[in-house]
């Protein structure tokens, strides 16, 4: 029933877009040099992460500050549910007279966690202050969620749900201080079903006025619209409509 392949790359778009929000955050070090904070998505293959590591020559534990993020949960949002029978159509660039068709988008909430690590509290506050003012509590992004269907202006709010401070500064004197903040976000996203690229085009509409003849089975009057020719692309403007008024003799 649902086991046929399709992949619209939508979830990857949301993950990358979420990381892109925090891509240009910088800190100013004590020596007045400004550095852009690295942002990393966490669920990497370990060997890839190890190969990409630059904590060598000299080898150190880790280089901070750093921002990491992770998609932690996906949940259906019933409050944004739309009519499941409606679908969106767009003409194909073909001579076959078929269309691309897709059902309405399905609302899902994507939960992201953003982790911030710094060595110095001063740098932590610099980073957080560059993030928090933009979330009131939502930051809106316009995403080209399904450009194949012309859906290029989907407003996707990213909501800051919570902030937790996980600083570790107690314990043995041999444990150095660890500063980390954890921000939790909800992205109000939309995902899509498969694209039907073989949907038929309605090119003839007949309205029967119900004026029946003596034999009660023959329409006397009606209007018929027929496209001529069948449009080949969605950019055909305007469609040529042949309006035909027909009187059927009894």
């Amino acid at each position: 029933m649902i086991g046929y392949f399709f992949f619209n790359n939508t979830l990857r778009k949301y993950v990358v877009t979420f990381g892109n929000i925090f891509n240009n955050i910088s800190v100013r070090h004590g020596n007045n040099t400004t550095a852009k904070v690295p942002v990393q998505q966490l669920t990497k293959e370990k060997f890839v992460q190890a190969l990409d590591d630059n904590n060598t020559d000299p080898n150190v534990k880790v280089i901070l500050p750093m921002i990491t993020y992770d998609l932690v949960d996906i949940k259906y949002d019933a409050s944004r549910k739309t009519n499941t029978l409606q679908n969106r159509k767009i003409y194909k660039n073909t001579e076959t007279g078929k269309m691309n068709s897709i059902l309405n988008a399905i609302p899902y909430d994507l939960k992201f966690k953003l982790y911030i690590f710094t060595r110095y509290e001063t740098e932590m506050l610099q980073i957080v202050e560059q993030i928090l003012p933009f979330f009131q509590p939502a930051f809106n992004i316009m995403i080209k969620s399904f450009p194949e269907m012309g859906i290029t202006q989907t407003d996707v709010p990213v909501i800051l749900d919570s902030t937790s401070i996980n600083n570790e500064y107690v314990g043995n004197d041999s444990d150095i201080r660890h500063l980390s903040w954890e921000l939790e976000f909800t992205m109000r996203a939309w995902i899509y079903t498969n694209l039907d690229n073989d949907a038929p085009i309605i090119n003839r509409v007949l309205i029967d006025f119900g004026v029946m003849g003596p034999e009660d089975n023959v329409s006397l009057e009606g209007i018929e619209w027929v496209t001529d020719p069948i449009p080949s692309t969605g950019e055909d403007d305007p469609l040529i409509i042949k309006n035909t008024f027909t009187i059927v003799d009894p």
Binding site: N20, T33, V39, D57, V62, Y115, E123, F134, M142, S174
Partner: protein
Amino acid sequence: MPTSIFPINEFVTNTEDQDRLDSQPTNKYFNWHNDTSEQQLYASQVAEMIQSHGQEMVYLPRSLQNVDVIFGEDPTNSFTNAYRFAIAIDNILDYIGPDNTFTNQAYTWDAEIDCTVERSLFGYQVPIEIPNFGDLVYWPLAKVLFEITWVSQIKGEYFQLGSNPTIRIKMEKHTYSGETIEVSNTGIYQEEHYVCSIPEHTDQLSCELAGGTWTPSFDGDAFCSDPQYTDQATCELNGETWTPAANALIPEINQITGKTDVTNSDENEFTQTEGDTYTNDEEDNPFGIKI
């Protein structure tokens, strides 16, 4: 003299013993805590052992510039001095800790090491009395930069000779965050070395300084070394001359400076490139914010 607090018993049989017990709280015939010659002998043996079987490391004192008294930190601190010193590593097999781990902090090399230095030897080689919390130690053999996280506070009170020549320290791999680390080679070595290195022909090299030419010393690399004229060193091989690489012995300490900034090959760049194709910024953004 007040009445003795010690009762007359079988060990105190005469007035002399009574006076001795009254004048000294401990028995002077068994008190080794003030025997300076024994203490120095012990210390010199420990120092000799550390110099014989220990490791050469580089000590980088932390230079505090502008301490934030509220948050108790100094992001402006820097490391510009370096001193070679002898240190014994207590761990005989491996570092302490999980070593390489994958956390939500991405990839970390979490490792600790326990070490011992001799107090007077350390004070001679490094111009500070004892190692300090927060100072850095570079281990050239492993190319690892450590941070001192714990220093033993026991000076001698629990030791037989009343002195403890050793200082035990704990170090863990440094968590770097943009501090300035600028260590010059001349600060570590008495004379600056310039390396002329061609794997197949280093034994045929000649060095030229201030008009004089000689065959450089050869030990894997060829070192042209002269304290006064190192900046004028040139190397020559088969008629071709070039300026040898300076600071070639310990260049990697300084390489970490600036690594906090992302480069074009980092994930930020890929995220930006791909993410920009997904977002629609064609319409005017009333807030003037472009991600």
